[in-house]
Amino acid sequence: MSTRSLLTAAALLLASLFGVIWYEYRRPEPVALSPTLTGEEEYCVACHADLPEISAAHPVETFGCVICHGGERLALDADLAHSTMRGDRNPSDFSVVQASCGGSECHSGSPEEGRDHIHRVLTSVQTTYAGAIAQIRFTYGAQPDLTARMGVSAVQDDMITTTTGLPSLEAFVPDAESSPSVVAFAENCLNCHLSAEPLPGEPYARLTGCAACHTPAASADLDRPIHRLTTAIPYTQCNTCHNRGNYDLRDMRFHPREDQPGNRLQDYYQPIAQFVRCEWTLDCIDCHTRREAMGDGDLHSSKQEIQYVQCRTCHGTLEELPLTKTITDPEDLAFRMAFLNPVIDLQVGDTVIVTEQGEPLWNTRRLPDGTFELFGKATGQRLTFRPVKGTACQQKIDEQESRYCHACHAVER
């Protein structure tokens, strides 16, 4: 064994040590985050430092990443780190929502504290699709009346608070249906409930689960959704399912709308709709309340059972002013909503409109002269309006549905 051979071997060893040093410096710098809720270090930001804060209510110093997303907090290798993530890129998908968003201090708490979001959305008509399923099955003779018996998944409700609430829904099983129309319905018409993947294409682009509404999609590229949770949901988000076209019972197909809208007015509703100015100036959530959009915790057979807001809710009638409430409690729900979406600087002592079911329209405020101001939840736009009482409105007291208001106040496209 010559010295030359040993020298070569030693040089090889030294070269491999330099390889070690090179590899060590190539690795991502382990940047740690210690969220106060868990007290454990997480290293997600070593690679994901440029991810924006998801919302003011979920600061990353408090929550970190793993408490919602799952994943391996110590791993700096992408495959291992992501291997135990919940729901891939969307931890709010209903298959994992309880683990990601649940907890009695978070979103599966008590109704009294207003923390029962998960229960409400899982029983909501937008998730169960119970109304559409019941309508079709009734129409084609698969069930004797319009009371819902089935939802997209089986669901139970142990606490019924309304007169139309149901105790449970079975899972809708297309293979067990005898009517070919109902089977066709199952094949062609189940793309618009909150656990369904949407139809392909930009107009329909949305995520599933909570993110379907609360994460506005920047583009149709759902492989790169924006990292955001918001309550300032614009009408375009609702329009990923609503106002996209019509179902035809004859051929049991969905017919997408074919107009090419040029402005907000044209884009908002389908060409056949009739509406007043606030219905296209405001966003859907400016009128449709939390209970309407997310459910009241009960299983319902149709959306008519849950929709209750009308023009009179804000405008009152010729005989009555709209219902209002002066806020005295700094812990009032209205303040929590205003904090989440600061379009209005609500103060204790302000008077806001409340609905017939007591839900505060926290983005409104009565002005000293008896009129009201409203701030668009998605646009922030300030609008003022008068109550009907004391005006020249020609309504009939017992005709309060919006179609009657449309008779005079409807806008032409």
């Binding site: 070269a15 070690v20 060590e24 391996e72 110590l74 290798d77 291992l80």
Partner: protein, 347 residues
């Protein structure tokens, strides 16, 4: 330079044919070096590894990703251990194929078989200590094999696992075995094995009258060759460690869905293949034990080489033993390949 303590561990001179690479392949020597590598890297890992079900996999992730050069220590430990299994297997084949087990070396052959077993158990216990989804199935089935042993199965399982199912006691016991119990035995028997080599006259070679090449090499030359091999082996292990990280998977967590690779560690794939075919005790315990017994008793059952034929590969007089080992080796290899090709069940 004056010969050091390390030099004096070797005889002053040895016959040159004994030391030829083409004769021994250096397999035994490399095994000694690899044992040193895994002990050193294992000690380093002990400063960070946490032997509890909740902490184990996370501590492995800490070593792999967060500790400076932790990845290197871990990968060296892993590759060193796998290379050790390969090296001792090559050494076994070399010893049988060159007739190095013939008297007076039969006792040392038995010690060597013991060392082989210790290496396999060390590799298995180390594998389990990862406590992640990649080892879960191997842990469950490998240890359940113990329960199939008649009479003593249940008791033995309790002894090995510290309970009636894998749990916190299992981690601690496997850790104690891996780090201390088996290692102590390995070092003790290893020293005995090396001592016996010198007592039995060194690496087996033909008696002087029958030797073709009468030259000898000095202990300094021998040490130089060993240093050369060590340097090359270290460089290779380091390059392997850079290029191929040791396997790692998501931790085993209570109450979470079981996922993960249902494949045995590579050195037990042949047993896994056997287990696909029938009774677990017979195929998983009795057959492997029987093969091991056959190999152990080779020097006693089959004729060994005549002394003049020593010092080279495939001496004609011990052909039966060579064929026997060849058949066993080929069978294990074939079973391993079968397991890989036809039942590739990674999710």
């Amino acid at each position: 330079m004056r010969p050091s303590f390390f030099h004096h561990l070797h005889p002053p001179t040895i016959p040159a044919p004994q030391a030829r690479f083409r004769y021994t392949l250096g397999a035994g020597g490399i095994s000694v070096y690899l044992v040193l590598v895994v002990i050193a890297t294992g000690i380093l890992e002990m400063f960070y590894y946490v032997p509890t079900p909740e902490g184990a996999a996370e501590s492995v992730q800490t070593i792999a990703y967060l500790v400076p050069y932790g990845w290197l220590v871990r990968n060296l430990h892993y590759w060193g251990a796998q290379a050790l299994i390969a090296a001792v297997s090559v050494h076994l084949v070399r010893v049988v194929m060159t007739g190095g087990y013939a008297p007076p070396r039969r006792l040392n052959y038995l010690v060597g078989i013991g060392l082989l077993l210790l290496c396999l158990f060390l590799d298995f216990t180390g594998y389990v200590l990862r406590w992640d989804q990649g080892v879960r199935w191997a842990l469950v089935t490998g240890t359940n094999l113990i329960t199939t042993i008649p009479l003593v199965g249940a008791g033995l399982y309790g002894f090995v696992m510290g309970g009636d199912q894998p749990g916190p006691a299992t981690v601690v016991r496997f850790y104690a075995w891996h780090v201390f119990g088996l290692t102590l035995l390995l070092v003790g028997m290893g020293v005995w094995h090396l001592f016996r080599i010198r007592r039995d006259g060194g690496i087996s070679v033909a008696p002087p009258v029958a030797r073709v090449d009468p030259s000898r090499i000095s202990r300094s030359e021998l040490v130089r060759r060993e240093v050369f091999a060590a340097l090359i082996a270290t460089a290779v292990l380091i390059l392997l460690s850079i290029a191929f990280p040791a396997p790692i998977a998501a931790p085993i967590r209570e109450g979470e869905a079981i996922s993960g690779d249902a494949r045995a560690p590579w050195f037990f794939l042949w047993v896994q293949q056997l287990l696909r075919w029938g009774d677990p005790f017979f195929l998983g315990v009795a057959v492997p034990a029987g093969l091991l017994l056959l190999i152990t008793l080779l020097p006693y059952l089959l004729p060994g080489p005549r002394p003049v034929e020593l010092g080279r590969w495939f001496p004609p007089s011990s052909r039966a033993a060579q064929i026997a080992l060849g058949v066993v080796g080929a069978a294990i290899l074939a079973l391993t390949l079968l397991s890989l090709l036809f039942n590739n069940s990674s999710p």
